[in-house]
């Protein structure tokens, strides 16, 4: 407290009292006294109003910075231990790095870019969603909300996932809505719609962003006897949504579902 000692003691006390009152750091008794002082001392009241105006101006005009989703993901990746695949990639990157070190360094210096885009790290998304599907099949109900009415299913999701999924009516194509379920990827809730087709159950999960972001590739993939199909909607990378269907039916059936789904989404926009 070296900086205000040159002021006369009362002036200094007054200055500090104003700050504490403004910042809500006075207890109730002190604040009561201060308010009484404000009434009796117009100069003090004017000073207090000026400080209040400054505070308002800062609040209105100098907002807090918001971390972009991309930046947040990169920071999150710091704490995620690399899975085997990523370790391989790193090894490959290490070898590649030796030959391309000079070039990349020049690029990084030139652009001021000090980050590398990190792909999402963690267990395979498809396998996680298959696990969710299997869990749903083992349980009495493959759904957390059982309804064939999309106007029931969509609001149910609204309170459970950050963005309520596209809920479409595919009954005309032979896929009846059975309900919805929340699956979990990287500790984050993901909306999964459940459809019935003949005697089969199909889970369709909606993931924001591009397939690459989730380490997925569009198209078919068979894993442990389950067929999966990945497709996207949206034109630009910003508004792309990735869908992944999991079921035990023939891959061709998932094509039909995806086609009907795309058509229904397009019809809604």
């Amino acid at each position: 407290m070296t900086d205000v000692t040159s002021e006369p003691q009362p002036a200094r006390d007054r200055t500090l009292l104003l700050q504490a009152a403004l910042d809500g750091e006075l207890d109730a008794t002190a604040m009561l006294l201060f308010e009484r002082q404000l009434v009796e001392d117009p100069a003090l009241a004017a000073e207090y109003r000026r400080l209040g105006a400054l505070r308002q101006a800062i609040h209105d005009k100098l907002p807090k910075l918001r971390a972009s989703e991309d930046f947040r993901n990169r920071m999150e990746a710091i704490a995620t231990p690399p899975p085997p695949v990523a370790q391989l990639a790193r090894k490959w990157f290490g070898e590649w790095q030796q030959t391309a070190m000079a070039a990349s360094l020049a690029l990084a210096l030139g652009s001021g870019l000090t980050f590398l885009m990190l792909p999402r790290q963690g267990p395979d998304v498809t396998q996680t969603l298959i696990a969710g599907h299997v869990r749903g099949m083992i349980a009495d109900q493959p759904t957390d909300v059982a309804s064939s009415d999309r106007h029931t299913v969509k609001p149910w999701f609204a309170t459970r996932v950050t963005q309520a999924p596209q809920v479409v009516d595919l009954s005309a194509a032979g896929f009846a809505l059975a309900g919805g379920r929340v699956d979990v990827i990287d500790d984050k809730p993901v909306a999964t719609l459940v459809f019935r087709h003949l005697k089969h159950v199909i889970s369709v999960s909606e993931l924001p962003g591009t397939p690459a972001h989730w380490g997925l590739v569009e198209g078919h993939r068979m894993i442990k006897g389950y067929s999966t199909y990945t497709w996207t909607t949206g034109e630009t990378p910003d508004n792309k949504t990735t869908y992944i269907a999991v079921s035990d039916i023939a891959p061709g059936e998932l094509d039909a579902l995806a086609a009907a789904f795309r058509k229904a989404v397009a019809a809604e926009h």
């Binding site: 407290m1 002036a11 609040h59 918001r66 930046f71």
Partner: protein
């Protein structure tokens, strides 16, 4: 889904306060791009420091690390800025006398964002970080004292000074450089 203690701690302790860290770093380095560099460095440091166990005040903890990372960054990239503001508490000793006239509150209230930003950027670093943590991050005196490592009385007098300087800067005629 399994996650290691470090991951959980990181998700619960660091990520919720990224906005605050970026904001402080932005006002210490002067722009949002450099702020990202600083916060990334702070996150790496935070991750390494996690072994220690429980963290009482996650936000203050992350801001302390961010502030240190910012000073390292400034020493490397803008060594002059650190010298200039080495000890602001000693530089100015005049009290309210530093403000020649008493501007109307309306003048302060009407200041445009650009002007306010410039006035904020022109504050000595110790005043700037204190008022940013108070007004933009919304920290209590106790927390600011913890992050900056000074007594609460110093936090209060720095705030008083920062506010007076800002009000004075906003009251100056507009055509001044």
């Amino acid at each position: 889904m399994t996650s290691t203690p470090a991951e959980r701690l990181f998700t619960e302790v660091v990520l919720p306060h990224l906005d605050d860290a970026l904001t402080l770093a932005r006002w210490l380095t002067g722009n949002a791009t450099d702020a990202q560099d600083v916060v990334q460095e702070a996150c790496l440091r935070a991750f390494k420091a996690f072994e220690g166990g429980r963290i009482e005040n996650p936000r203050a903890w992350l801001l302390t690390i961010t502030r240190n990372a910012a000073f390292t960054w400034l020493a490397r990239n803008r060594p002059k800025s650190l010298v200039l503001t080495a000890d602001p508490d000693m530089e100015e000793t005049a009290g309210s006398a530093e403000r020649p006239e008493t501007p109307e509150e309306a003048v302060t209230a009407a200041a445009d964002a650009d002007r306010l930003e410039k006035a904020m950027a022109a504050l000595p670093q110790a005043y700037r970080e204190t008022i940013v943590m108070r007004e933009i991050n919304g920290l209590a005196y106790r927390e600011i004292a913890e992050v900056t490592g000074v007594p609460i009385g110093t936090v209060m007098s720095r705030l008083a000074r920062a506010r007076n300087l800002l009000i004075a800067a906003l009251a100056e005629p507009k055509d001044r450089p």
